[in-house]
């Protein structure tokens, strides 16, 4: 319940910012409202064996933003995601989520951090012997949600991702795109303020990828900050959102692509499809914002 409250506040912030005509709120203005949702200060990650994951990275992502992280394989993109959910620890520097230094939290509290961050993986990471419904429900069971809430929330989120017809199927009965939708549903079902997606379209064809991006965009429009790691440059170019580029563990480029403007999910899908040269075959599913 608290999480949903947070989401509503986020949306309000987001809209206020839009009304003010800011593409990205200036840092000092943001400070007085709330700290950025993600902030890295001079963060360095060194893997056992000496391999450097990311090196002296500083960046900040505001609430409600939709940002891409790009770069070649092994540049530190995935390390960034792992750092944010504390799968790896930073060797030096600081990582703050919603203003909180996550390197200081106790190991036992790490699950609490992960519940506040939805994560989508390239290989979906679904539980193979559970149905679509149970996979999504698990994320709610973990936070101790009452059964009545699970019974209403899960079908609702599955309708949002367009899988209401496959609710009792097992993951191996679904296509890649459908599995990724389940994974997104699971990540978003408890409405986290931050959604991380690690190569969400890495295993999918262009048309399916657009569907997934459209879904992430729709989630972003509810006020959730979305951070997408990808090496799909053409997709990033078409999306026209903030792009953070990594190379050999270092942040080499951080820019809001020109032409960033607010558009509805449908407008977004139509535009991206047109620019990528993929026909609209009625894959816009569910409701439109």
């Amino acid at each position: 319940m608290n999480l949903i409250g947070t989401r509503r506040r986020n949306r309000a912030t987001h809209e206020r910012r839009r009304a003010a005509g800011h593409e990205r709120a200036p840092a000092e203005r943001n400070e007085e409202i709330r700290p950025p949702i993600v902030e890295l200060r001079d963060a360095t990650v060194v893997y056992p064996g000496g391999h450097v994951g990311i090196e002296r990275v500083s960046l900040s992502i505001d609430r409600g933003e939709f940002a891409f992280v790009v770069g070649p394989t092994g540049c530190g993109k995935s390390t960034l995601i792992k750092t944010l959910i504390r799968e790896v620890d930073v060797a030096s520097g600081r990582v703050l989520i919603a203003g909180r230094d996550i390197d200081n939290i106790a190991m036992a509290k790490v699950p609490l951090l992960r519940r506040r961050i939805g994560t989508v993986f390239q290989d979906f990471k679904l539980l193979p012997n559970r149905t679509v419904y149970d996979n999504v429900a698990y994320a709610l069971q973990v936070i101790g949600a009452p059964r009545s809430e699970i019974r209403t929330q899960v079908p609702e989120i599955l309708r949002l991702v367009g899988l209401q017809a496959k609710i009792h199927n097992y993951p191996d009965q679904l296509s890649g795109g459908e599995q990724q939708r389940v994974s997104i549903a699971r990540a978003f079902v408890n409405h986290p303020p931050l959604l991380l997606a690690d190569e969400p379209t890495g295993n999918l064809d262009p048309e399916t990828s657009i569907g997934i991006m459209q879904l992430l965009y729709r989630i972003n429009r509810t006020g959730t900050t979305v951070l997408v790691v990808t090496h799909d440059h053409s997709m990033v170019d078409k999306m026209r959102r903030r792009v953070i580029a990594f190379e050999e563990g270092r942040l080499v480029r951080d820019e809001a692509t020109s032409g960033y403007h607010d558009e509805s999910t449908t407008e977004f899908a139509v535009r991206v499809r047109a620019e990528m040269g993929v026909g609209d075959e009625g894959h816009t599913n569910g409701d439109t914002h």
Binding site: I85, E87, A108, P111, L112, L113, R114, R115, T119, F121, K125, L126, L127, P128, N129, Y138, A139, Q141, V142, I143, G144, P146, R147, R186
Partner: protein
């Protein structure tokens, strides 16, 4: 309460989904529990035998033929007054005959009947509080004089004999048997523990991806661990119950009929069936639940 039902249903779901490893774990528990169920009573029985023998250690004081009734009675009182003696039972010449007949086979019995007069002396059967005190009581009955020759307490004492040597032999044999059994039981226990741990480990290893996903979704370690522990408890309970059932069947069909016809076998039921069942089932449950919990630690780290 809702959480408990969730954990239990998760455990049952896991058991059903991975039937083959679950059955392997149940069978492992069943076999080891059965072995333990046989070994424990055997061990206890051998211990019981030893104490039996030790309890029988006593002294026998033979009287000379010319002792009068009054002298014998007085000696009886004197013996009973000695330290460490619990009782002294008078066995007259006439009583001694049937006692001897009991020990001999029928042929010798007939020869005994051929004797014209009773060759057996009267005696006292002396019982002691502790078999270890045989030496001191014997010394009191037959103190040695300066030259080292025995000088009995009373002139009517002809001879004092003890059953120590016999008893020592039996104790030594049962002791050796006991050591062998304990070693076998210990080896079996270790082997079964490793076997159970390994079986559980395999079944968890097959699901390590699942555990990883749970962790990434934000499940706490105990949230992940509980279903596995309950699964272990169910496996242990199921295996042990089956084993106890088989043991009970064996007891009813084999041991009990034998016990009716042979007193020796009866000795083996030194351990009550109910406490044995409780020990076996709780041991199996604890071992398999711990096995699950400990194995899971590896996958829950980081």
């Amino acid at each position: 309460m809702g959480r408990v039902t969730f954990f239990v249903s998760e455990a049952i779901r896991a058991l059903r989904r991975s039937a083959a490893p679950s059955i392997a774990a149940v069978v492992t528990i069943l076999v080891t529990t059965m072995l333990l169920g046989v070994l424990i009573p055997v061990l206890r029985a051998s211990e019981g035998k030893t104490t039996d023998v030790r309890d029988q250690i006593g002294l026998r004081v033979f009287l000379s033929k010319d002792a009068t009734k009054a002298e014998s009675d007085r000696l009886g009182e004197e013996i009973e007054a000695l330290a460490h003696v619990t009782s002294a039972k008078y066995i007259s010449e006439d009583d001694a005959v049937p006692l001897l007949k009991d020990r001999l086979d029928s042929e010798l019995n007939r020869e005994l009947d051929l004797l014209e007069r009773n060759p057996l002396p009267a005696s006292f059967e002396v019982n002691l509080d502790d078999p270890d005190n045989v030496g001191s009581v014997q010394a009191a009955l037959q103190p040695s004089d300066a030259s080292g020759a025995p000088k009995p307490l009373s002139p009517i004492i002809d001879d004092v004999s003890d059953s120590r040597q016999e008893a020592r032999k039996i104790t030594e044999v049962t002791g050796a048997v006991k050591i062998v059994l304990i070693v076998i039981a210990a080896l079996l226990a270790i082997a079964s523990l490793l076997l159970v741990a390994n079986t559980i480990r395999l079944s968890i290893y097959a699901r390590r991806r699942e555990v990883e996903v749970m962790r990434l979704v934000g499940a706490t370690n105990w949230f992940i661990r509980w279903p596995f522990m309950i699964e272990g408890v169910l496996v242990g309970l199921f295996g042990a119950t089956l084993a106890v059932g088989i043991l009970w069947l064996g007891k009813v069909t084999i041991v009990d009929p034998l016990a009716e016809s042979f007193a020796l076998v009866d000795n083996f039921s030194t351990v009550g069936f109910a406490p044995l069942v409780i020990v076996l089932i709780s041991a199996a449950v604890v071992v398999s639940a711990m096995g699950s919990g400990i194995t899971l630690r590896r996958f829950l780290r980081v």
